[in-house]
């Protein structure tokens, strides 16, 4: 049991923080980037690639760094600290993670190397209108066509779905949900992109007999999807920790400088007590997120750990996001000031792969199956 980062991990954090500070230390820079497609900065993306971050979790033989979940957590938290708009989790952790988990050696060699170099930005097309946060697909179906497949149906909203050059798509197959790779220029693929409230991009992605290649050996991949979603939830929990940390520090700074009634706001206990409660929420969530990454690293039940991290960071993110604006007052609702953007991003994270109530329901279904929860015991430590 050890909650401390080693020196290499601290160095990684310093390096990532330096890079992202240069890009987004001034929150206006992020706002400008978000105005134009693709909603992130291609140059910053290249710099992330140069630092090796875009291949961080992939095996070295596939062009990656062979790093573990703790390193991914560090990068995600630093992204959250400045709410960097680059799709690190979406492209590398989630889409890349699926390729790494189920792809053939050939697919891994081809696709992961390109992601690591920054040449390819994939997206996972999974969400469907009318259902939510499921590991299976129904609105897009896959049909075998000779050696290959075709897909038909609609995925939406797909984060970075318009910019992506490669789509990993979940689709209904006989006996479950399969995973497929679709090229961005494939026939019968129509993508309509739009802005999201947090400054990002999403798309309606329409498949009409679109040619596709099965990812990996084919067949039902629901378990692999469930696992990849869990790992992405853990990464998002770290991004939200970074965002919450900045939201709280920004708020505390504001309380110390803003004057009303002739005194700074930190003279009002009604405000400082609420800031103290934000700190409590943040630290409890931080512990849970770090733990979930350690469970993943240890090979424990990552799906359950991700649900726990999701529940805790969801509650904390809503609490801190809302209070950060309220303690600022009107300026917190303006687009010119940064804190509201953090609340917007936290709200997006909260809904992309399952919110707190959703996670609580999943945990509630298991509540009768154990006497107590031991975070250092089974099924988390194995």
């Amino acid at each position: 049991m050890d909650f401390t980062f080693d020196s290499e991990q601290n160095d990684l954090r310093e390096a990532v923080r330096g890079l992202l500070e240069r890009a987004y230390g001034d929150s206006e820079a992020r706002r400008k980037v978000a105005l134009n497609d693709p909603g992130f900065d291609e140059k910053t993306w290249s710099r992330l690639a140069e630092m090796g971050l875009l291949g961080l979790p992939f095996a070295e033989e596939h062009g990656g760094m062979g790093a573990g979940p703790i390193e991914v957590a560090i990068v995600a938290e630093e992204m959250g600290r400045v709410i960097a708009p680059e799709p690190f989790i979406e492209a590398v952790v989630l889409a890349g993670g699926l390729i790494a988990a189920v792809g053939t050696d050939e697919q891994k060699g081809e696709l992961l190397g390109a992601i690591a170099e920054g040449a390819s930005v994939p997206a996972f097309a999974h969400a469907e209108v009318g259902t939510r946060w499921s590991a299976s697909a129904s609105a897009v179906t896959a049909t075998q066509a000779g050696d290959g497949w075709t897909l038909t149906g609609v995925k939406e909203p797909v984060a970075n779905g318009a910019r992506a050059d490669v789509l990993v798509v979940s689709a209904a197959v006989d006996g479950g949900t399969g995973l497929f790779v679709v090229q961005g220029d494939a026939e019968g693929l129509t993508r309509t992109g739009y802005r999201t409230h947090d400054g990002g991009r999403a798309a309606n992605v329409r498949f009409e007999n679109t040619p596709a290649v099965a990812l990996g050996a084919g067949g039902d991949q629901t378990a692999a999807i469930e696992r990849a979603l869990a790992e992405a939830r853990i990464a998002y929990s770290h991004e939200s920790i970074g965002a919450m940390d900045t939201a709280l520090r920004t708020t505390a700074e504001y309380l110390k400088t803003r004057k009303q009634f002739g005194v700074t706001l930190n003279r009002f206990q009604a405000l400082t007590f609420r800031a103290a409660d934000m700190y409590v929420s943040l630290e409890l969530a931080r512990s849970t997120a770090l733990w979930a990454s350690m469970v993943q690293d240890a090979g424990g039940d990552v799906v359950s750990a991700a649900d726990r991290a999701r529940l805790q960071t969801s509650r904390a993110g809503r609490h801190i996001g809302k209070e950060a604006i309220q303690l600022h007052g009107g300026i917190g609702v303006t687009a010119e000031y940064k804190v509201g953007h953090y609340t917007s991003r936290l709200t997006a994270i909260d809904h992309v792969l399952g919110d707190g109530d959703w996670a609580a329901d999943r945990l509630a279904a298991e509540v009768a199956a154990h006497e107590t929860v031991d975070p250092l015991g089974a099924p988390y430590a194995v």
Binding site: M1, D2, F3, V280
Partner: protein
């Protein structure tokens, strides 16, 4: 970053678990588990069992029975003790006055008090709060005036927990009423509760129990040698002592036990044709509490790993704040599971109501105290806002 305990710590945890579940009498542990009244004799028997095995005061200096354990070992020791429903060693002895005497007392005081304090041969009580000095403890007015070789103490203390069992009291008294800062004129005296001029009045609590007392002092003569540390430095010792009080106050093991009991009882009660535990709202409520408790336990592990030089990590305020809230939430859950049965609080023989439902509401009412003692939760918020956030 590593999840697993080392093999050594895993073995240590097993050793603690085995000791607490086999070497402390079952009857005492059942009493704690059932939230029934723990008698003075039971407290003494349990503490002596721990002390005989060298497991009573691991955080003390080694020469006085300490173990030189890491903070993580101490955390495991405490959690396993709570999980096994073992009454914790009396905090007034082992967490409060013992460490103060070990740190600030003279050699004679250490020899005189520490072994008996560890073994509960002396039962200590705390003379800190006064009717007009609660959270603002430094405003205390009980005074001690030097007269020859004695201090003469006059005044009143309150909220003196289990004072009815106590042999001795450690008492903050004002020895320099002219000091510029009120914190500067306070000293720490210790004296027997049967000293002439000491009287005790029990205070009944809303659960019908007697736990706290008022203590009155009228010309109580205390020998000068019973001053702990230096004259007028008592406030420093009080802060040291209260810092110790906050460590371990999260009571995670205790709340874990509460939630396990709640689930057991919720299986037995039928609501709308199915066990209450299968009611989605109830299951979700328990799941949320379990998750909050996991978050708290992990935070405690983070804090203990970072409190190296013996000083509590500032985030220990989070443990007190959230730990007390979760203990209260656990008790509230038990009352809600008992439902209408919770009205049968004082039922005796001839009642069909299960024991847990009888004690649920008195315990819930009694537990309102946990967000008040040890520095109220509002004091903890003040510490977080000031010390951590710089507000």
């Amino acid at each position: 970053m590593r999840l697993q305990l080392s093999p050594e710590l895993e073995a240590f945890r097993e050793e603690m678990r085995t000791f607490f579940t086999t070497q402390v009498p079952q009857e005492i542990r059942d009493t704690v588990a059932a939230h029934r009244h723990v008698s003075k004799e039971q407290y003494v028997e349990a503490q002596r069992a721990l002390n005989a095995a060298g497991l009573c005061v691991p955080h003390w200096p080694v020469e006085w029975g300490g173990k030189d354990w890491t903070p993580l070992q101490r955390h495991i020791w405490r959690e396993e003790m709570q999980l096994a429903n073992v009454p914790e060693p009396l905090a007034f002895n082992t967490s409060m006055i013992g460490p103060v005497i070990a740190a600030f007392g003279n050699q004679e005081q250490k020899e005189r008090f520490l072994p008996k304090t560890a073994n509960l041969d002396i039962w200590w009580c705390q003379g800190f709060s006064e009717p007009d000095a609660g959270s603002d403890l430094a405003s205390l007015r009980t005074n001690a005036v030097r007269d020859g070789d004695d201090w003469v103490v006059n005044g009143q203390k309150t909220w003196t927990t289990l004072g009815q069992h106590a042999d001795w009291i450690f008492c903050l008294v004002r020895t320099d009423p002219t000091a510029e800062k009120k914190q500067r004129g306070i000293s720490l005296l210790v004296f027997p509760m049967d000293t002439p001029g000491v009287t005790l009045r029990p205070i009944e609590l809303i659960d019908g129990g007697f736990e706290v007392n008022e203590v009155f002092f009228e010309d109580v003569r205390v020998p000068a040698e019973n001053l702990i540390g230096e004259e007028n430095r008592g406030w420093d010792y009080a802060k040291f002592l209260l810092g110790n009080e906050r460590v371990g106050i999260a009571r995670i093991g205790t709340t874990k036990r509460l939630l396990a009991q709640a689930k057991e009882h919720a299986r037995e009660i039928v609501a709308d044709g199915r066990p209450l535990l299968e009611n989605p709202r109830m299951a979700a409520r328990i799941a949320e509490l379990e998750n909050e408790l996991v978050a708290l336990e992990l935070t405690a592990l983070r804090v203990v790993a970072n409190s190296s030089d013996g000083k509590p990590h500032p985030a220990s305020s989070v443990l007190k704040l959230r730990g007390s809230e979760l203990q209260q939430a656990g008790m509230e859950l038990l009352v809600d599971i008992a439902g209408p049965l919770s009205l049968a609080s004082f039922a005796e023989e001839g009642s069909d109501v299960p024991d847990f439902a009888r004690v649920a509401t008195p315990s819930y009412l009694n537990y309102r105290k946990v967000s008040i003692y040890g520095g109220s939760n509002e004091v903890q918020r003040t510490i977080i806002a000031g010390t951590i956030l710089g507000l």
